[in-house]
Every structure is written in C-alpha cells, then in structure tokens.
Symmetry: C2
Subunit: 468 residues, 2 copies
Amino acid sequence: HTTTTYPTARRHVEDAGDKGTETVALCPPGRKARQSAQLPPRPRRFGLERHGEETLMGKYGDDSKLIYELQDQGGELLALRYDLTVPFARYLAMNKITNIKRYHIAKVYRRDNPATTRGRYREFYQCDFDIAGQFDPMIPDAECLKIVHEILSELQLGDFLIKVNDRRILNGVFAICGVPDSKFITTCSTVDKLDKIPWEDVRSEMVGEKGLSPEAADRIGEYIQLHGGLDLIEQLLQDPKLSQNKLAKEGLGDMKLLFEYLTLFGITGKISFDLSLARGLDYYTGVIFEAVLVQQKNNQVEEPVSVGSVAGGGRYDGLVGMFDPKGRKVPCVGVSIGIERIFSIMEQRVKASGEKIRTTETQVLVATPQKHLLGARLKLISELWDAGIKAEMLYKKDPKLLKQLQYCEDTGIPLVAIIGEQELTDGVVKLRVVTTREEVNIPREKLADEIRRRLEPCSLSVQSCLTV
Amino acid sequence: HTTTTYPTARRHVEDAGDKGTETVALCPPGRKARQSAQLPPRPRRFGLERHGEETLMGKYGDDSKLIYELQDQGGELLALRYDLTVPFARYLAMNKITNIKRYHIAKVYRRDNPATTRGRYREFYQCDFDIAGQFDPMIPDAECLKIVHEILSELQLGDFLIKVNDRRILNGVFAICGVPDSKFITTCSTVDKLDKIPWEDVRSEMVGEKGLSPEAADRIGEYIQLHGGLDLIEQLLQDPKLSQNKLAKEGLGDMKLLFEYLTLFGITGKISFDLSLARGLDYYTGVIFEAVLVQQKNNQVEEPVSVGSVAGGGRYDGLVGMFDPKGRKVPCVGVSIGIERIFSIMEQRVKASGEKIRTTETQVLVATPQKHLLGARLKLISELWDAGIKAEMLYKKDPKLLKQLQYCEDTGIPLVAIIGEQELTDGVVKLRVVTTREEVNIPREKLADEIRRRLEPCSLSVQSCLTV
C-alpha cells in the first residue's frame, strides 16, 4: 500500500503531482486532505506537453525522434511527455519553486518498438525521485544513489552494479583527446553505446558518422574503458593531461567527494566509477549514474555481465533555467527507477516459482448454511464493513455452504463468519478457521474485534510494510 | 497511504491496471510482487483508445463530441480515453474475463472547457469501481451504492443524496407516453438536464429539438418529477399503465429488491428513487445512480438543493459484448467517484480552515552541533534509514544547530537526533523532543527503537489508517 511512497517515505518528500491527486480522494479527510494543503501548486493539469522548441525539443539529443507527437483537434501542436524530468523542470520554473524534494510515478510515452517481455512499452510508467535546490556539493547526489541502492537491495532483484560518471569528466576527456566542443554531446551518445556494441563499432561510428579523427577516437578509447573506485579517481587526478582540464578537475573532485559520502553510506561495494557511462540525454551537467543488474562470470567480480539497466539519472543544473523567462537556474539531481522492467522481472520470477498467492486482503467471508438468509448475510457484512473488517460474500441468493467454504480455500480467505438460523436466535456468529476447520461461536457484537485479534500478525506485517 | 485502495480494500478486488504497475515496483518483493502474480492479464499497455466505430464511438451519446481525438505520427487514428468504463469493458472482452471486481484510478481526457475551481479539467483522474459477472439480481448493484455511501460519509463532504433510477423504468415511461423507441436515448439526454434547467426548458427541448408531441412531453413530465422510496416503487407497481409495460415492471421489481438490500445496509436515508435521473451515456441498461452534495433549504428534507454531482454510475450489461467478436455478454455494474471534484472541495475547506499541516512523515532530523561533522550525520542517517526510520538532514556541510532546530519547528519534525563530538566519544546520540526541548542521551544502537517507541501513537494512527 505504501509502496508508491516507499523509496521516499523516510525522507522529506513533496509529491508534486499525480499521486497527490490519486491518493487524496478516498482518504479520510483528517490525514491526507490536510496534507495536500501545503503541497506545492499542482503542475499544469493538461499533461500533454507542448511540442516544439520551447518544451520538448532539443533536450533529448538523438532520442528526440521517440517523442510521441500528436495533433489535437484544437490544432495545438502537442506531444505526450517523453519522461518526467523535463515536465518537472518546467513545473519548477512555472511555479518559481527553488527547493523541493519529490517523487513522481506516472506514465510517459515513446514512439519506440515495444518489447513487452522485457518490460518495454510505448506507454509505460516511470518512477522518478528528484532533489532540486542550491545545496552543498554531492550531498543530494549521494542520497539519490543511496535510494537506488536501497530499492534494488530490498527488491532482491539479484546482484546489481551502479555505474557513476560525470559529464564534466567526459567532456574533459573529449577536450584533451581533441574533440571539438560542438561534438561533445553527439560523441556522448556514441560512447553511451559501449555497453551494447563492442569498442570497435563505437570507434568506427566516432570516426565515420561523427567525424572524429582516428587518433582522437583511440585516445578516447583508452580513457572510457577505465573503471574502478577511489583509486581510479586519484589516478586520474594525477593524470598530466586530464588534471590540466578545468571541467575534468571539478568533476573528479566532486566524484571523490561523492565516493567519500557513499563510503559513509556503506554502499561503495556496488558502485563503479565507469568512464564509459555517458547517458544519451542532453540535459545532464554533472554526475550521471545508471544501475544495471549483473551476472557474475565465474567469480570475476571485476567483470560482471550487465543484463540490463533498471535505473538511471544524474545532475541537470541547466534544465529549469531553460523554462524560466529570466533563465533563473535551479540545480537538480534525480533518478528514474525502471519500474516496468523491475515489475516484469518480478512477475517472471513469481511465475517461475509457481507459488500460489492471494490477490486480495479479504479477512473473512460472510456465509450462510441454509437458504433464505441473504438478508442476514447482507446485514452482517455491512456491520463488518462498518467496523473496518475486509469482508466479502458470494453474490448469490442461496449459495451452498460447501461452495462458500470452497471459495475460501481457493482464494485463501482465512476466516468464515457463518450465520444460520441457530446463530441468529442465539445472537452469535460461528467463526470458522478455514485451515484448521476449528469453529467457535462469538457474540455478534464481539465479532469484529475477534477477527482483528486472530489476524493480528497479518495486520502487523502490513504495518511493517509501512514502517520498514 | 491505503487511500487508493480504500473503497475496496475490504472487499475482494482485482486491480486490473495502472495501480498494479504503480504499486509493485517499490515494494518488498515478498508482498506485492507475489500478489501481482495472480492479477488478471494487464490491459493493452497502449492506453490510447483506438478512435472510431469499434471502440469509442456510439457509446457516449451526445457526449461523444468531448472525446479527445488525436492523430499519431504512425497515422493510426487514436483518441485519449474518455472514461475508464469503455476501456474496462474492452479489456474484459479482450481477455475473456467473465468475473472480476476491481478498482481503477487513472486519467481520462475531455475536450471540454476546464473549470479548475470546480475541479473540472481537460485531463483529470477518474476513480472507478466495477463488479462484472453473472450474479443474482441487485446484490452487486447494492454494494456499489454502499461503497458510494461509505466514501461520501467518511470523507465528511457534508450532506449528500444518492439518486437512483433504472433505464428500463425510464424507457417504460417513454413507451407509455408515446415516445418511439428510436427516440429513447436522445430523450434520455434531455431528461438528464432536468437538474440543471427548469422543466419548461426540458419540455421545449423535447418538443422542439427532439420532436416529441406536446402531449407525450407532458405525460413524461408527470412521471419524471416523481421521487421517493419504497412507497413510490409500490405506487408505480400499481400504476395501471406503467405496470403493463414489461421493461418498467422488471425495473421496478429490481428497484424494490435494491431498496430491500439498501435497507439491510442501513443507508436508505440518503437514497432517493428519482425518475428524473437519466444519465447521459448510452451504455447503461439497468439501474443508474448519481450522488450529489446537497444543501438543506430550511429543513425541507424533501427538497434539498443539489450543489453538484460527486459520483455516478449504473449497470451496463451490453458493453462488454460490443467488444467480444462473438458478442458474449458480461453483465457489469460500476461507479465512478469524482475525485477531482472531491479533492478541490477538500482543498478549499483546508485552505479556509487555515490549519498548519505537515506535508511529510519525517520522524527525526539528524543534526550536528559543531562543524566538520557532516560525515557523522551521513553515517547516522544511513543507520536510521536502514532501520526503517524516516529521517532527514539539511544538505549543508556545516549548518548551525539553531538552523537545524528551526527547520524542525517549521516542518513539524517531532524529534532531533543530535550527534556531536561528545556524543561520538560516548557512543550515544542526544535525542531532543522539539516541542518540549527535553533532551536525553540514547545509546546509539538503541536509537531507532527509542524513536519508534516515542512515535508509537503516530505509527498506530498509520496502522489504523490501514485497517479502518
């Protein structure tokens, strides 16, 4: 239940959008409605992003072709949002928000070829967490990585690795390798392919398509095949050429800081400073990261094989300014969790395990042993509902008791509240434990409490799901 | 937190779509991932509804013009979904599901003029609950009304009234008043306006636009201005003309049954059998209902003034069949809760109350009293996070203690975990209660438990939010 807020529930997080609307409506006014009072102004209700220079274009680099354009009858040129980051940035600029931490789970659209088995769709959910504001270096960045580590660990998706790099380091590398500034971004998208295609192909794309000199490509190749930890950072800080590059020096300094913080979080074991990580998108300005599930090849911990990315993000300090009429900047760092991918992995695992699982939380089935007692069932179930018990009954006038008990067996409902003529006259309800078939008569007014008492562990586990 | 599942959490409910994806991703795999295993196949991932005869058209009557058409680059003729009911029906047919109860909270689109203050947008959330399957008459229908009653009561939106009617009764009325079958649906949309415009205007639209005879219009007028309860049902069952009409007789019989069930649920006080209720949409085939917030005019309980609809629904037994190649029917009854409207009402109320409210659940702020202790804060907060405590800290290297305490005052964080040089050497943490300013040293390894212990009531209230 709290899962949507799970990664952030422990921290101060504003909910800037959809969830706010989703969760408030059916909640006792006491809690959530009040809560929503201080939420930041809600984002432009019309979720379709205006298409064209000012909003979507020129922010996704080569991926722009995946933007889901569409023309509405009003003749407005519109497109479906491609991710949650650009809309978030626009939202901050529009509402002059300079300091916010929020999560957002919502749909995005890509004109891509769906691969449903791998959890890739044309319409799919993204789950973003972002920290916006002017803060001391790398503290929010470290928290983002801590959250990714926490999520992937607790979901037990298997072994994973979080690659980190910094756009400034990459640009520094490009610069000292003789790549003209104008080709940094496009070179980035090529480098980004190194996890999918071998270096040779990346190299030939650099030289051919992107028009770099073979020498430049080879020099880049030497750098981007490096990966490691603090040691590598130190090594590069000593690198005669790279250490002379202002951007790279900044990036390496922050990377060192980041690793210090991650060490305090105790998660460096799964973090790899990897110079081949480039991330396709234009808007990153500093640290970038990507989490991949890995399979160990005969204990070569050095070289685990990636089996796909499940989270990615980075720092984008310029994006909000692009939407602000006066260009006021709001530094941001954020991460997107690939929940569709993660969902399909979990789904497959559960299918494989063949476990039988309950799909509901129903605590008790209200049943009758004789005919002409539908009224008694309706009255009792309504009492239980009003007492907050999760109860159901068969939508039949006169169901056979056996059918009702069978239904509990099939759906895993733990308790049956049986009300027959005898129970009605005695003012009791027969409470039956499905597994043990034990039956006890409970005074009707005590039934709800008795059900709660018997299901205590269950409700506890629910709470632990809330607080853990 | 449980709010999205709130109206149905006590009952057996499948989650057929968005929420499934939303809620699984960030949940410990134990619970939700397993849970999802037995969910019905997910709906067509590409949420845009194909536009044209076969899907969206000819199902919304006069409202069809509000369908949000759009043209994608692939040249496919597409439209954004207008509601959740038609997609749900298509989903059942596509997946051959003959028996399901589910809720669904998601966005729908209308090419309407937004009225944001009244919670009306072009893109907005709907919250639907539907019961599909062949069951004994009016039992699921009664549960839908019970749920609406429950939601509106617990949200304390003020006094409300749930109007119920039956399309078969209306059609019967039209028939005996001399309306040709071909004009039933269009006459329905005119009758539906009776809550917005006076009878005279409705009448003239019937005679003018819809081409009914003045006599027919007047006869209809006599009927549709009737409203009441069981008494009115009995009276109409005795009505010489209406009782002769097969459809009307069926409808009245079921209406009587419905009121018996609603009496057992103890909610008839807020239910009104109202013959003027027509509902605009084409697809209803039986009982229809609409919940309105009302203001009592000087205790005339008979004639409360409606201040707007907050929920509506009904039975649609033919819709699934329209999507099934073999026309196999799956009877359905469902309700849509106007959560945007409800949200804006609650938002306004909270604004008016001027209460100061927390927007986060942060339990403790990790603070340091001296400089150069960022590392100590990071280490401690990560321990607390790992222990499931909702902790945060300022993203500053060396924040002043006063600033940190002030932040708690401002945001309502109840506890501060202060770690300074002394505490580090003593292996303790100074736990400060923000309101009382009381401070106690807690052995570091006991800190998480102590925080939980002190916030017990809070976590209890969270649990009660789960189970109530």
